[in-house]
Subunit: 326 residues, 2 copies
């Protein structure tokens, strides 16, 4: 890039004016600002894009906060984000934080430091109030239901979806229903735990806390669930499992022990993963790809000012896909 | 950020000098450059990081080129990259290109435009000669064996690994060996096709081109392979499959048709995926996580000048994990 004096000379403005444009100083006439930007555009031989970002005030980059990219749930949301980002010629900065709050705060600081145009938070260890402190610096979209906050969200109603799954099992005649969850203290997980307890309490039934199984994150955790069940005195006859790959692990392990699905144990999963389709797994499709795509569209609209910068709360629908495990 | 005049005044240098530092002009004394950088550091209230990047010449960001983030192979390499990036406090820009060469070139242009400090190419549609044209702009590392090029690479020897798999099947008594591949024209796929043909030709055996099955990318493609086999007049008695999730799809589908594994069909996979472990799948572990981690360490070393900027060619080992499907 040419130096600032050269830009000033070619634009017919002072060095101070160029400097003001560079620094987003408000007291620059729009004519002069346009002249400077045009000169920069013309001088784009071997340009340094950091200078361009400095000048345009746009980085065309969005940060994505998630804990583990290789988990199906997150990688499919990322795929939805990435397909839209490619269309819009935006860049996604993957911030794999492993739920470390200090790393998540660093990403939000990037927004404050104008390194990025917005942040999509797929899953977080931060509480919504902390996230709200950053909304003055630029658009933020979360992929979980955080209520009516000063940032946007795209979400499915986990409470309702989970109860829907329980009701489906009850309608099919199951009464002893267990529950496999990923993180005990996760945001969606906490909602589902409430849904589970409320569902049985409302019906005057006992809540079997020993049937609430946590830390079920991988296929192998699913296989381990079978052994936890086999060691129980009183077993559930149906399970609702948050993650088809976890359910797949359980089903494969059950096959080795001649536990029949659904006769001995009915299973309903979440996520509608390919492995679940192959295993005939009944599941709740929660539109993960669409969640990522929608999050990107909302944030892009807010960056471009196409839509109001008021927060958007987009609820996605879910549906039960009936197959053969219930 | 303060404006340039202010930085000049505080640093005790001219506006021209500040501008030269900003633009990486060579004719600035190191004293003056240090004074300017120190002032910027002190003025870091509400700083614009794009200005900092412009000044330091470092973005602390690396672009990662891959086709589809939600495929296990790529998401595990990305996990390896992301864990190292977090340690180094670097940012990864995910460029999901779907193998579109024009998009991949745009990422390389980011390197030329100094928007990033380096590029990791996990899988690409570009030929190595095209990538070489960009090595003058900064470090590039590929995760495939491209020979001794002017960019670095981390790879396993697919030719040798694949032949190793074939030899393992032959040693176990199998003679009619088929092969399931992802992309017909992919870089690693082409190498494996040569390995397959060479292996049989060298032994004076026929190469059954009808047993070379392409476009096997997903679990469901694996299930479809079973049906392709069932429709064959003469079937292979063993398969080598590039991707444990594809093999898993085939095994699950085989269970529905009472095809016994390995008695009716032996299977060896690639990638050592969790679903393969559960199914007792014999597989070739090609160290995907380590591939991502190593790619990051190489590029970081080159950015920081800790190592020579000469290209590094790091070969990772592979190993056959013996389970029950052969």
């Amino acid at each position: 890039m040419a130096n600032i004096k050269e830009i000033a000379r070619m634009s017919g403005v002072s060095v101070t004016t160029v400097s003001r444009v560079l620094n987003h100083h408000p007291y620059v006439s729009s004519d002069k600002r346009a002249a400077v930007l045009k000169t920069i555009e013309q001088l784009n031989y071997s340009r340094n894009m950091n200078a361009v970002h400095l000048i345009t005030g746009r980085t065309k980059a969005i940060a994505v906060v998630l804990p583990h990219i290789h988990f199906f749930y997150f990688s499919v949301i990322m795929d939805g984000l990435a397909k839209e980002a490619l269309l819009a010629q935006y860049r996604l900065i993957l911030c794999q934080t492993n739920y470390r709050p200090e790393e998540e705060l660093k990403v939000l600081d990037m927004l404050r430091n104008k390194e990025i145009d917005g942040v999509v938070i797929v899953s977080t260890a931060l509480d919504p109030a902390t996230i709200e402190e950053y909304t003055e610096y630029g658009p933020i979209v979360t992929c979980q239901d955080s209520g009516k906050r000063s940032f946007s969200s795209v979400y499915i109603e986990h409470y309702s979806a989970f109860r829907h799954g329980l009701q489906y099992l009850v309608d099919k005649g199951y009464r002893n229903i267990g529950y496999c969850e990923g993180r005990r203290n996760g945001s969606s997980g906490s909602i589902r735990q409430s849904a589970y307890k409320d569902f049985f309490t409302e019906r005057g039934l006992a809540v079997h806390s020993e049937w609430m199984l946590f830390d079920c994150l991988t296929e192998e955790d699913g296989a381990a669930v079978l052994h936890r069940l086999l060691n129980m005195k009183e077993r559930p006859d149906a399970l609702i499992i948050t993650g088809d790959h976890v359910a797949a692990g359980l089903i494969i392990e059950a096959g080795k022990y001649n536990i029949r699905i659904p006769e001995d144990l009915a299973i309903i999963g979440f996520d509608n993963q390919p492995i679940g389709r192959l295993l005939g797994l009944t599941t709740i499709d929660n539109q993960l790809f669409e969640m990522g795509a929608a999050a990107f569209r909302i944030i892009l609209g807010q960056i471009n000012g196409d839509v109001s910068t008021e927060p958007v709360y987009q609820k996605l629908s879910y549906r039960i896909i009936e197959r053969t495990t219930v």
